[in-house]
Every structure is written in C-alpha cells, then in structure tokens.
C-alpha cells in the first residue's frame, strides 16, 4: 500500500477499509454465484454490481427475478432494502457540504454502509483530514473489490455443480449482517416478526412474502418502541 502514489488521506481510507474486505470478498463472490445460478448473464451480473452497487438488494432482486416475480415486486423489495441509504446520506451530508454540487453527486454514487460508517467515524476522530480523499480511499476500494469479486463469483458459480448448494451462502451472508443489526429490544422484535411473517407468507402470490415480512417487522419495531417508551 505504501507503494501506491496516493496522498496520506486517501491511503488512510484504503487502510481503514482493508479489514472490512474480509466480509466484502465472500459477499461479492456470493453475488456473482447467485447471479449465474439464477440464469443471469455476465453482463447482467456486472450491470447489477455497477448500477445498483448494494449487495443485499442485489441478492434479493436476483432471487425474485429467478422466481419470475412481477417486476414491481422485484423493484419494490430492492427499494425497501436500500431505503436505509437515506439515513446515511443525511448523516454524512454536513461533512461534504463544502464541496461543489456535481462533485457531491459523484461521491454519493459510492455511498455504502461501510464507506459511510468508516468516514463519519474518522471525520469525528481526525477533523483535519481532507474529507473527500479519505471517503474516496474507502469507498472506491470497496467498489473495485465488489466488481472483481462479482466476476470471480460468476466464474466459480458456473463451474460448481448445483448439488453443492453454493447459493446457501446467500442467507449466511444475510445472517452475518442480521445478528449485529439486532441491538436492542425493538430491533430484535423487528427481526423476529419480520422473519416469522416472511416464513408464514412464503406462499403468497407474486412473491410478496419478503416485502410483507419486511414491512411487518418495521411496524413491530416501531410498535415496541412506542409501547416500551
């Protein structure tokens, strides 16, 4: 990394994001494997990773496309999964406000859970960083690794027999993300209700089970918060 012709702020972003790649690499591989398993072509798999660039929604969309769910359900489900980005956008916005409008529009494209969390923490810890450089160091690294692992996963997935059940790695990735998201009573209840309703609603027409479960879970979390406080 010291050999890279990068300024110290960008390097700091690359350095801080590196340990997180341990989670991103298998996630990206799974995104590629799931795509080929669902019958998507390489261009479509890469198109998803470049245009959407949001893992959980990509996996959900791939699954629903493979089940021939209506387009509105595919898109609606992915949108619900990604609406959390609004929260990150609001949280990081004050730190990027000094930059020009077009430049910010470019930075926004790379916004992810990890780039957001790292950057906001670093801006508080080290106020004299050039913010966009640090952000770009972390966010662009994630982007590059995501694209490469999608392609590698696609190639691996094409060569491994279906009986191995490689796509079982999809729920395992979600599980690894779900557990830390269950932080307190309302979030645990949101998960339990969301999961239980999704199982019960698995037979709903038009593959509405996931969306129904997700919305029920959100309502359950809110209700717990209101009753508890």
């Amino acid at each position: 990394m010291d050999g890279l012709p990068l300024d110290p702020d960008t390097r700091a972003g690359v350095r801080d994001v590196s340990p997180l790649l341990l989670g991103i690499v298998p996630f990206g591989l799974v995104a590629g494997i799931a795509a080929v398993d669902a019958g998507l072509g390489l261009a479509e798999a890469v198109g998803l990773s470049v245009i959407v660039f949001a893992g959980a929604s990509q996996l959900a969309a791939i699954e629903l496309l493979a089940q021939n769910a209506p387009l509105a359900v595919v898109i609606g489900t992915a949108v619900v999964i990604n609406v959390r980005m609004v929260m990150y956008s609001a949280s990081i916005a004050p730190y990027l406000a000094e930059y020009g409008r077009r430049f910010r529009a470019g930075l926004a494209y790379l916004l992810t859970d990890q780039a957001y969390a790292l950057s906001v923490a670093e801006y508080e810890r080290t106020p004299d960083r050039t913010r966009w450089r640090y952000y770009l160091g972390a966010a662009a690294t994630l982007w590059v690794v995501w694209q490469i692992t999608t392609v590698v996963g696609f190639v691996i997935g094409a060569g491994v027999p279906d009986a191995w059940g490689l796509t079982f790695a999809v729920p395992l990735v979600f599980l690894a993300l779900l557990v830390p998201a269950m932080k307190d009573r309302p979030t645990v209840l949101a998960a339990v209700v969301g999961g239980a309703v999704a199982v019960a609603a698995a037979g709903l027409p038009m593959n509405l089970g996931l969306l129904t479960g997700a919305v029920s879970g959100i309502v359950a979390g809110l209700a717990t918060e209101v009753i508890g406080g």
């Binding site: 996630f27 959980a56 929260m87 949280s91 916004l111 993300l177 969301g194």
Partner: protein, 117 residues
Amino acid sequence: MTGGALVGGSVRVWVAIVLIGVTTYGFRLSFIHLFGRIDEVPDGVERPLRYVPPAVLAALVFPYLISIEPTVAATLADERLIAGVAAGVVAWRTENVFATITVGMAALWLFRFVVFA
C-alpha cells in the same frame, strides 16, 4: 433458487437493474444533495428507517432456512435449518462474515452428504 431461463428474458432483467439502480442512487444522493435546504431527516422518516435492516435481513434469511412441513419433526430435520442455526451462533459470537459462511457451508455439506445421505 433454481437455474434456468428467466421469463421475459434480458429486457426484464435490465429494466429491474436500471430502476433499482436509479432509485438507490436517489436515496444515496438525497440529503447529500439537499443539505442546506433540509438539514435533518424528519423524525417520522428516521424512526422507521432504524428498523429496516433487522426486519429486511430477517425476512430474507428465515424463508431460506425454514420451510413449514406437515410435522414438527420434518420441519426441524432440515439440513438448511441446522446449518443456519450453527452459522447463527458463529455470527453472534464472532460477527465475522467469513467464519459464518465457512461454518454454515460445512454444516450444510455434513448433513446433506453424510448425516442425511
């Protein structure tokens, strides 16, 4: 997930990719763009957003691991559920994606190819 041709073919897939991509970019850009005019997420928006990750992730995970069978025994004696529970314990103890996938896949293969074979 099962392989095979997608109904509606490639056009349908690309429409989904572009519409999801544009909407997601809109979410990313929202407050980064609007800052100065709207500085904070309204409370009525922020509170439900807090529950999106746990609710959505659980709704994604559970149906993969559990399928309701006629008997309780048949529901529980499923390699996916057993592997999922093992992986869930690892996720909880380590919060490590790689370890979770490794243990989950190993448990799946153990039960699919050895125990239940």
